[in-house]
Subunit: 296 residues, 2 copies
């Protein structure tokens, strides 16, 4: 899915926020933002949005000399998710359809995304996630996801954000874990989950966890390690979380279940749903089945 012109202002917003996290002097933040505007103006926009995001956040790291501007935010998000998980998991277990509820919970976790929105507050996340889990939808898609998982030989689960990955764990526990690998980003970018976050979520004791070797806020196959690419190739089912993974993989032929909160017009148009939708999209090549509901 190609970067749209509408994405450009979003990159500028992300860069402004990232600099505000790690550069106290306004004059230096101003300089950095000017540099980034110039670099965006000169760069090739004929690529996916995660490819552009990779460029922007590399620039941010280069100019700020800070490896992970979102480190504090990621810690808070993991903390919040760990606090919320026990009661939400309990609620899901007692629900009429625990499996669909757990799928919704995993998608609700995708609200913890600093890429799509600035000024994310923990309180708003808490109340929205809790409300979303009590909805009733995506049952058909959840059934298909679990049926596919039962039949699959190898499942690759592409994590998205810190915090969110804690909720992923609750869904992963219901899947056939012996044949499932969770992939995380190779390096910090925005608030995307890395090995450290997988560890906080307690995943390595349950399933294989693999770094994809890339610093893109998505899954750019050509940029990932050969080990990751091989696993991607060998997996006959992929579960992909979030917009970044969708934007980078939407043109592949693989059998992929995309679980995401739809946060911008571009992705909404591409999926044929509304901004704000909680979406489950099963895709194999050109064949696409989208189920969505508005829970927020």
């Amino acid at each position: 899915m190609k970067t749209s012109l509408e994405c450009i202002s979003c990159f500028v917003r992300q860069a402004t926020e990232a600099a505000s996290f790690c550069v106290p002097e306004e004059s230096r933040r101003t300089e950095i933002l000017r540099i980034i505007l110039e670099e965006i103006a000169r760069s090739d926009w004929n690529c996916t949005s995660p490819k552009m995001g990779q460029l922007i956040h590399r620039l941010i790291r280069r100019e700020t000399s800070v490896v992970d501007p979102y480190a504090d935010m990621k810690r808070s998000m993991n903390q919040l998710a760990l606090e919320l998980l026990p009661s939400l998991r309990q609620e899901a277990r007692l629900a009429d359809d625990p499996r669909a509820t757990m799928v919704r919970l995993a998608i609700a976790g995708n609200l913890l995304d600093a890429g799509a929105k600035s000024g994310l507050t923990m309180e708003s996340c808490r109340s929205t996630i809790s409300r979303m889990c009590r909805g009733e939808c995506l049952q058909g898609g959840a059934d298909r996801l679990f049926d596919s998982a039962a039949k699959a030989r190898r499942i690759l689960y592409l994590a998205d954000n810190a915090g969110e990955i804690v909720f992923d764990r609750a869904l992963i526990e219901l899947l056939p874990m012996e044949k499932l690998t969770v992939a995380v980003r190779g390096f910090p970018v925005i608030n995307d989950a890395t090995l450290e976050d997988a560890l906080v979520a307690g995943l390595p004791t349950l399933v294989s966890v693999l770094s994809n070797g890339s610093d893109a806020p998505g899954t750019l196959l050509e940029d990932c390690s050969s080990e990751f690419r091989q696993l991607f190739e060998q997996s006959d089912m992929v579960i992909s979380k979030g917009q970044g993974n969708y934007e980078s993989l939407s043109e592949t032929d693989k059998h992929i279940f995309y679980l995401l909160q739809v946060k911008c017009d571009c992705v909404a148009r591409h999926l044929g749903v509304s901004v704000g939708a909680t979406a489950l999209c099963e895709k194999t090549g050109a064949d696409q089945r989208v189920q969505s509901c508005a829970l927020t």
Copy 2:
């Protein structure tokens, strides 16, 4: 009120939207956006946000050769407001406090603002405005506004957007019209109201209407006509609509009632209220009384 770094991405978003309204070819829109990014990177940010907005929208007009990219949107907004006005005005007249209700209606009209938000839809404006008028708040501020108006020798009413100006008319009808002048922008910029919109709202038959002679999306005194500046000087009460006028005049000593929807973090912080607030701020120099409520 100085341009904040957070404003920059908002200018980029505005430029993208303005180009989408009047340039059908994506390749040309891409070129224009690159030019604007470069010009923003090079420009002086040590000014108010409306001054920056003036620069951006001059660039848009220069690059697209279109004098008024928002012409269609302004027509739709005027149309919508003219449709909604009779029933809302009737509702306001029957309300417990018709004057405070009319003040809320005038502020609700400020939601019709393409500068603060892309993809404004008529339907969402319709339902929100109608809901807002039924609220109960700003009574104290509205009383002070009408008391001041009764005592004032000369009142200057600074309009903001097309559509909104139709709702302004309903409030203006309750004010001492013989001593009131409505000022509009001198040239089209974003969806700000010009003489044409004042005419559509039927204002010239009721009160004096004056163009401020400027193409800024706010009131940059140094950029306005001498006639406007003289009137501003002579007026002992100003009613100022919207963020753009607030951002450009917030440092003046004048006695000003600001009526606005608070649409971004920067203005919210400056006023000490939340984003989304419906705000009435009475200000004389450093003395500021803000009354606000969340109706949306």
